[in-house]
Symmetry: C2
Subunit: 359 residues, 2 copies
């Protein structure tokens, strides 16, 4: 394994839980029945533990990083959209008109767009972070999608972005992506690393009809048969049947975790990146929040693999980071509960009891 990747992996520490009791005691002293704010309390606690603080600040500098790349496997006819939509949507992101732009503004988060592998030469565009590793992947049915070096370069590009673009003390990041054909790559990765059949973890992506869906499953089966990715070697899987944006997301997660910045992951593609990250560093999930449950068939299997429970379930399947930024608002709500609610003493409210009170 490349030295830089090895040292990145070594730099990620598990979250230290020594403040757990103090944080829980504060939550239990707020003017509400114990635990009655459910997952908002869980979010506050996890955030405080990651920040290693009994008094975490509200997340500063919230941002979503959208990695864009193309996929050679679109030659096989796996998507409802033509390949040029990848670069067209990058322009749309930069112009502020895509779903992720709207929802990031709603969440108070910035959108950073990264060309990590789009099959298009962009002019020098303001706001586009150019980290192109290749002009897309090769067709995984016919040859490995990436060389191992390309896969590692894309991971390191993602990790670099986590370090170069975000100052010390950044509160919260989210992952997003754009890449026509990338549900095919995400399904292939998920099948191998989560040990499921392609059929179980393949969905309709942007919305293909029944025949096309059956064809897509066959394409993935053929790619796995031809490539024989090694389930014990996440880099081999990522290279042979993955994608550059998926590798970039994996790298962003690793880079953020190495700096103790929590990351909200989005839907099926983003989570494929998280699956690779966990396969490389099991405790990286300490730093992850699962933004939402995607409609895409394989997302549940990924969540089980990661041991995460999604925050939202709104029948979404757009990607781009849309579900992740929407969930940022819930994480912030949890932190505000922790910081802003009155305590029983402070508000002179009588505390409760498991035994009923006759009054």
């Amino acid at each position: 394994m490349e030295d830089r990747l090895r040292s990145l992996i070594a730099s990620i520490e598990p979250v230290d839980c020594h403040l757990d009791e103090k944080i829980q005691a504060h939550l239990d002293n707020l003017t509400k029945p114990k635990g009655s704010l459910g997952r908002l309390e869980e979010l506050a606690k996890r955030y405080a533990l990651i920040k290693d603080s009994t008094w975490p600040e509200l997340p500063a500098g919230k941002s979503v990083v959208v990695f864009a790349a193309d996929h050679g496997v679109t030659e096989e006819g796996v998507s409802a959209f033509p390949k040029e939509v990848t670069f067209q949507m990058v322009r749309n992101f930069l112009a502020g008109g895509a779903g992720i732009n709207v929802l990031a503004r709603h969440a108070g988060a910035k959108v950073k767009v990264v060309d990590i592998g789009v099959d298009h030469d962009f002019p020098d565009l303001e706001n586009l972070i150019s980290r192109k590793v290749a002009y897309g992947t090769r067709n995984m049915v016919r040859q490995p999608a990436l060389t191992t070096k390309e896969a590692v370069d894309a991971i390191l590009a993602g990790a670099d972005i986590a370090k170069a673009e975000f100052p010390e003390g950044t509160g919260l990041l989210a992952t997003g992506e754009m890449g026509i054909g990338n549900t095919t790559a995400a399904s292939a990765i998920t099948a191998v690393l989560c040990a499921r059949s392609p059929r179980e973890v393949t969905g309709r992506g942007t919305g293909i009809a029944e025949d096309a869906y059956r064809h897509k499953i066959k394409v993935i089966e053929k790619a796995l048969e031809n490539r024989q990715p090694d389930p014990e070697n996440p880099l081999d899987v990522l290279a042979k049947v993955g994608g550059l944006e998926i590798a970039g997301i994996c790298g962003l997660i690793l880079g953020a975790a190495s700096r103790k910045i929590p990351v909200v992951i989005d839907g099926f593609i983003s989570t494929a990146g998280a699956v690779v990250a966990k396969a490389l560093v099991p405790h990286v999930t300490d730093y992850l929040f699962a933004g939402h449950l995607s409609v895409e068939a394989g997302h549940k299997a990924q969540m089980e693999f990661l041991g995460l429970r999604p925050l939202l379930d709104l029948d979404m399947r757009l990607g781009e980071g849309t579900g992740a930024v929407l969930a940022m608002g819930l994480i912030e709500a949890g932190i505000k509960i922790y910081r802003e609610m009155a305590t029983f003493d402070g508000a002179r409210v009588s505390p409760g009891n498991e035994e009923p009170v006759r009054s």
Copy 2:
């Protein structure tokens, strides 16, 4: 039935869906695969239909109305908290330190607190809306909780608030409540109007232990046996085993619907108010959004009765309106998607197809 209630009911029109196709066409022309923003698209469409507009404004004047009242049934020992917590929490709401204050600020919503039946004389407090119908309910095990006149007065007080406190064009309201003992009343109402056994729709409220929980079910069974509320007569049910805050919420919903203001309902108690409202005016649900699914056992049965699907599922059971204001952010996100996303034409993005594209 009282004349004013009769005319309130008559003034509520079903939502007119003649703009459905135009609204859907706009959603389908936004730069995303059709339907890929799932429930955000559904929220935008429902909101636009309620406002009878193909270009709905962002909701102005968002507010949560928190009705507070006491319950005579606390004599039976059904709650983990003493009765005085009702007025103590009203003070906490007015001081801005409760969960609902924190989450309403997060959502950009105002908190209006209504004393509709607290067993306490408040001094003249700024921001407290005083509409006290009685000093709490009577103990439903021994006598009817309310007279029919008190129940109707409380409904009309809620409807008055919808009209007096909110100007024309108010975008979105939410319901909230506070009342030690009110899960007992909500379970009794739900058992009768949703035709379930008390056991099925009774939970642990603020968090009572196993023995107390079994006792609470027996209290509800005894109250229903002693009172014999008529399932065909929602006012009879509300009076005999209900609560003043539940009646107020029912009235707020009816008053808002009569002015075409959508209402986000909160958890188990708020939804009991909505169940009574629907039993009085079946199409009132056209104006309702279900904020979240509460942990409280009977909430699912209420949702089935209303035909609504909750937006959030975060293991919450605090009430106060907390789940409702949290969901306001999702409804706003949907409206922003509708208003702010670029169209395929405008952004020069190639539209998709159910048939796959080989590229």
